[in-house]
Amino acid sequence: MLLNQFLILSAVLFAIGVYGVLARRNGVLVLMSIELILNVAFGSYVSSISGEVFALFIITVAAAEVGVGLAILLLLYRNRQSVDLSEADLMKG
């Protein structure tokens, strides 16, 4: 089985996602990067029933999470006409 190749692929996708979260300043793109990491997690192990069930759960929960995340982003956009995360710095210290 090509387990190692799958592991490497998932590690690469994971790294891309983490890079996106750290480097992007646009809220929507950060959200997309996080989704990438979420969905990478169980791609490699769908050979057993528990793995498949877990993957299904993740897909479902990720959808709910995006819903909530976009709602919060929309709220921010309505109040300040921008989704730039570096501008969201009212509180510091």
Binding site: I37, A41, S44, F54, G69, I72, L75, N79, G93
Partner: protein, 518 residues
């Protein structure tokens, strides 16, 4: 074709209806019922329902305590109820935590009543989301399986993201919700990646089976043992975000400051407890034998959180931010016993008890502090530490109550906090290892630093001239719900401190007993 031949394929698949223990599931089902009732009432009564919503939520939470008490009477602590092949366990550990979540939830509802009604926020949805989040926590207490831990974590987090951003037109609240959401989801993504590695290496999602799988003892054949190391570390990092341990704490001060204050109390107590619960079941049931991996990781998190949290708390001007950093430091204390748990089974049992004891006492004193903060902010409208100057002359009762909570947080007897710290030291010393002693040293130094900032607030209240924000209208009026919350938390803090057996009677549980083969 007969019915029998239709059913035959099911038999071939080996489908067996899982055993459902309705009594053991009663708390979760009741809580779900209360939440559903609340939503239905909202649809039926619309605006007229506002008056009863908060009372119903509070009473509902107290009602859920009934099945928990009957389960305790039925002797669940000595004979755990195990369901779904060990994925869902109701034992003494789960029971005390469920009770803790529900009582904290009840206090949060008490704190919310005036705040939500007077602030003209959506009420029904607010309490519905609080109940949903609590359901996730109650499930988390019993979850002994990667899937149920993940689902419980999301069920408790997703409503909390919305609640943090509840003040829709306030930019700070938007920002609080956004930061909490992004950090929270990022953390669950990292945790999931770790879980996928652990699942791949052990071939099971049930924690007890993961513990029994060969790779968790030492290296496997198909997957190098580095995968397990990375998996364990990533899962711990994921929950370190949840419990706001340094260096994964960055969201906490901003979210606490921007979120509605009752939700801040909720996050700092219930949500943090849920993180510790999951960490506890993972460490003690899932990978207890890999203390070569989690030991150093948790040791670092504990020492760093205590020190960094305290040092940053020293220079805070806003009381809510100060409590956020104080919470980070307290999280360090709670992580400390877990770091040395791998030494032996007896140390592990003591560590579980110490963490549980700390969580119970911390819930009482921290909720109390937030009740005082909310009461004072009703008059001053600010979270400035300077607005506490001379509180004793304006509202002597408030100042005395706040002093009790601050003394408890600092660990001054007879308030409860001293016993929580004592239990942590006991667990660290019982490990009898260099790591344990050094960590105990860190904890001792930090306990002294913490007196600095807690004491400074107390000194302001007692010795300074009254701040202009306190006004000259005399005592600060305390609404009935806040009064009840204060009475509950003060009583709990003092009783736990004077008679620690009231806590330890319930927190002396053994998690390792449920793992097969140990």
């Amino acid at each position: 074709m007969t019915l029998g031949s239709l059913a035959a394929p099911l038999g071939v698949l080996g489908f067996v209806r899982p055993h459902l223990d309705w009594h053991a599931l009663a708390p979760e089902l009741t809580l779900l019922g209360v939440g559903a009732l609340l939503t239905c009432l909202d649809i039926a009564l619309a605006e007229r329902g506002r008056a009863v919503t908060s009372a119903l939520a509070g009473l509902g939470l107290l009602g859920v305590l009934v099945p928990i008490i009957t389960l305790a009477v039925a002797g669940v602590a000595s004979e755990p109820r195990v369901m779904f092949d060990g994925a869902y366990v109701v034992d003494g550990y789960a029971l005390i935590l469920k009770a803790l979540f529900l009582v904290s939830g009840y206090v949060v509802v008490l704190l919310s009543m005036n705040y939500v009604a007077e602030g003209d926020y959506w009420e029904n949805e607010y309490y519905g989301l609080v109940l949903a989040s609590l359901l996730g926590m109650v499930v988390m207490a019993s979850a002994r399986d990667l899937i149920s831990i993940f689902v419980a974590l999301e069920l408790l987090s997703i409503p909390a993201y919305l609640l943090a951003a509840w003040r829709k037109r306030d930019l700070r609240s938007n920002e609080a919700g956004l930061k909490y959401f992004l950090m929270g989801v990022f953390a669950s993504a990292i945790m999931l990646y770790g879980m996928s590695l652990l699942f791949g290496a052990s071939g099971s999602t049930v924690l007890a089976d993961i513990a029994a799988a060969a790779p968790l003892d030492r290296g496997a054949e198909a997957v190098p043992s580095a995968a397990i190391t990375v998996g364990v570390i990533f899962v711990i990092v994921g929950f370190a975000f949840k419990v706001s341990a340094f260096p994964f704490h960055t969201w906490a001060p901003d979210t606490y400051e921007g979120a509605p204050t009752p939700i801040t109390a909720f996050l700092s107590v219930a949500s943090k407890t849920a993180g510790f619960v999951a960490l506890g079941s993972l460490v003690f049931v899932g990978f207890w034998e890999r203390d070569d991996v989690y030991g150093p990781a948790l040791w670092f998190l504990a020492a760093a959180s205590m020190t960094a949290g305290n040092l940053m708390a020293l220079r805070q001007k806003n009381i809510v931010r100060l409590m956020a950093y104080s919470g980070i430091a307290q999280a360090g204390f709670m992580l400390a016993p877990l770091a040395v748990a791998g030494v032996s089974t007896s140390v592990a049992d003591q560590a579980v008890s110490a963490v549980l004891t700390y969580l119970v006492i911390y819930a009482a004193m921290n909720l109390g502090v937030f009740a005082v903060i909310m009461t004072v902010a009703r008059r001053t409208g600010t979270g400035d530490v300077a607005s506490y100057n001379g509180l004793f002359r304006v509202s002597p009762g408030m100042a005395v109550v706040m002093t009790v909570f601050l003394a408890s947080l600092a660990g001054v007897p007879p308030a409860g906090g001293w016993y929580a710290k004592f239990a942590v030291f006991q667990a660290l010393v019982s490990a009898d290892s260099p790591a344990g002693y050094v960590l105990a040293g860190f904890a001792a130094v930090n306990a002294v630093i913490a007196v600095g900032y807690y004491g400074k607030i107390a000194a302001r209240m007692w010795f300074e001239k009254p701040a202009p924000e306190l006004g000259d209208a005399g005592r600060i009026p305390v609404p009935f719900s806040l009064r009840s919350a204060l009475a509950l938390t003060v009583a709990a803090t003092l009783v736990f401190g004077v008679v620690p057996a009231t806590v330890t009677h319930f927190t002396e549980v053994s998690l390792l007993a449920t793992v097969t083969g140990l």
